[in-house]
């Protein structure tokens, strides 16, 4: 079990956006908190009702606008509170994962996984591993600023 007591010293905070389903993974993150499982501080969690709500464009938007990482987590397949939301999400997110590198965005900045409300330790490992990976990758170079033409015109 990695990181139970040793949170790696972060040189600087990274911007990791988490999209967690309310029923399983948000609960799992709560469980990890209740159990005081130490985790890096880079993750900012957005609560969504279900990974089925997760439009891949939320992840794409985050990465395009400079998030250093995006982590999506939901109920284990077949365990969805809404029966099938995560099964749709799995296809959509997998497609996104394959698509990102084509556009020049490092797919390692995007991760999706399944963590149940009771899996506090698993959540700790997921967060720790992903945060470490993002720290290794460093800040997201991003898509960058506006084009030269518009700079010229004083915008």
């Amino acid at each position: 079990m990695s990181g139970s007591n040793s949170v790696p010293v972060t040189e600087q905070g990274m911007k990791i956006v988490g999209f967690l389903c309310n029923w399983c993974s948000y609960g799992g993150a709560d469980t990890a908190g209740v159990c005081r499982f130490k985790q890096p501080t880079d993750l900012r969690i957005i609560r969504i009702p279900c990974t089925g709500r997760m439009d891949p464009l939320f992840a794409a938007k985050s990465l395009i606008y400079g998030a250093d990482g995006v982590l999506v987590s939901g109920c284990h397949p077949r365990d969805c509170h809404y029966a099938v939301g995560n099964l749709y999400a799995r296809r959509r997110l997998e497609v996104l994962k394959h698509f990102l590198p084509f556009m020049g965005i490092d797919p390692r900045r995007f991760h999706y996984t399944w963590v149940s409300a009771s899996e506090g330790q698993l959540w700790q490992r997921v967060v720790t591993d992903f945060s470490e990976q993002i720290h290794q990758l460093g800040p997201n170079p991003g898509i960058g600023a506006e084009s030269e033409i518009f700079e010229k015109l004083g915008n």
Binding site: E148, I149, F150, K152, L153, G154
Partner: protein, 354 residues
């Protein structure tokens, strides 16, 4: 200072290098090496201007950028009481002189439409006026029309000097440049030495030949008054518009289309007000806050586009047509809709009805 210069073809780069040290220069250049499209880009040393064909995008953006910050604003909070907020606004515009090298008569004529709307009252748009006033045009005498060109139809022509500050005539071995305005004259010497007699004569010949060219059907303009009569003829408009995809690319490449939208974009306590190009071919353009849309389908929108250019505008502005005959809308249209036909048939059908 003769007000004339000759730029040898292989020294064009050097001339533009000299010029761009004094003033921001825009030239037509390939947006991507090996592709067809040409757009006006800020000149950088080494760049190869494309002067042998019309640009895909007109130089509209030089004076009327695709996006322009009108003002910046900021909320300032009282550190002791977050409920107390002050507001600061900055609407300053920084405009530098700029020089467009290699525009064509139609490109320059396009700005006349803008000028009437933005600078001749009753409301004067300062942002446009300032940019317009600080922009010079070195215009090419046009020799490369194609099947889509129709500048003569709208009262212009390949040798139309109107609106230009310098006059660039391509001759064997280079370009003869002559000043047409006082502020244009300042830059002539920078571009090259005075031309020889022979070169001047060659230029004159090119200019004369260009002036004699008839590009497009001169009767086109006369169709405009028929518009009102056909306004309610929905069958006609339906047949004209059915091909249209409503893609709006015609308005983006058009030198005279000036539709815009204004939005406030902000984050946290700061923000800015932006003016961006919009298109009358889009539903959002006329979508009202209530949700009602007076031009709900492409029929109304397309009819408006034709009417605006060939009827409403000339009615309001002394007969001036809001079209410069550049033909870009025809060339860029993915389904090759020909606005000349639409306007011409306006009249033909009107005659037929009468």
């Amino acid at each position: 200072m003769s007000g004339k210069a000759f730029i040898p073809r292989d020294s064009l780069g050097a001339a533009l290098d000299r010029l761009s040290k004094k003033i921001e220069v825009w030239v037509p250049a390939m947006s991507e090496e090996g592709r067809w499209g040409v757009e006006f880009l800020p000149y950088r040393p080494g760049m190869r201007p494309v002067l042998d064909r019309q640009s895909t995008l007109s130089p509209k953006r030089v004076v009327f950028p695709q996006m322009e910050t009108l003002l910046r604003f900021e909320y300032i909070k009282d550190p002791d009481d977050p409920a107390k907020v002050k507001f600061r606004l900055d609407d300053g515009q920084e405009v530098k002189p700029q020089f467009v090298f290699g525009a064509r008569p139609c490109d320059v004529r396009g700005f006349f439409t803008f000028d009437r709307v933005f600078t001749e009252g009753p409301f004067v748009d300062g942002y446009y006026r300032n940019r317009r006033a600080s922009t010079l045009f070195a215009t090419l005498v046009c020799g490369e029309g194609d099947a889509a060109c129709f500048c003569s139809s709208v009262g212009s022509g390949p040798a139309d000097q109107a609106g230009s500050d310098l006059w660039v005539t391509p001759v064997d071995g280079g370009y003869v440049v002559e000043a047409l305005s006082e502020r244009g004259r300042e830059y002539v010497a920078l571009l090259g030495d005075a031309p020889s007699e022979l070169q001047e004569a060659a230029a004159r010949k090119v200019q004369e030949e260009a002036a004699q060219q008839q590009v497009g059907d001169p009767d086109l303009v006369k169709s405009a008054p028929s518009f009102r009569g056909r306004f309610e003829d929905l069958d006609y408009w339906r047949s004209m518009v059915s091909q249209c995809l409503g893609c709006g690319v015609c308005t983006y490449v058009c030198p005279t289309c000036y539709c815009f939208t204004i939005t406030d974009e902000g984050k946290d306590l700061k923000g800015e007000r932006l003016r961006s190009w919009d298109s009358c071919m889009f539903a959002q353009y006329t979508s009202e806050a209530s949700g009602h849309n007076p031009r709900p389908t492409k029929l109304e929108r397309y009819r408006n586009r034709v009417g605006h250019k060939f009827s409403y505008f000339p009615e309001k502005y002394d007969g001036m047509i809001a079209c410069c005959g550049c033909g870009r809308c025809i060339r860029s249209c993915p389904v090759s809709i020909d606005i000349r036909k639409v306007v011409q048939e306006l009249k033909e059908k009107a005659n037929a009805c009468a």
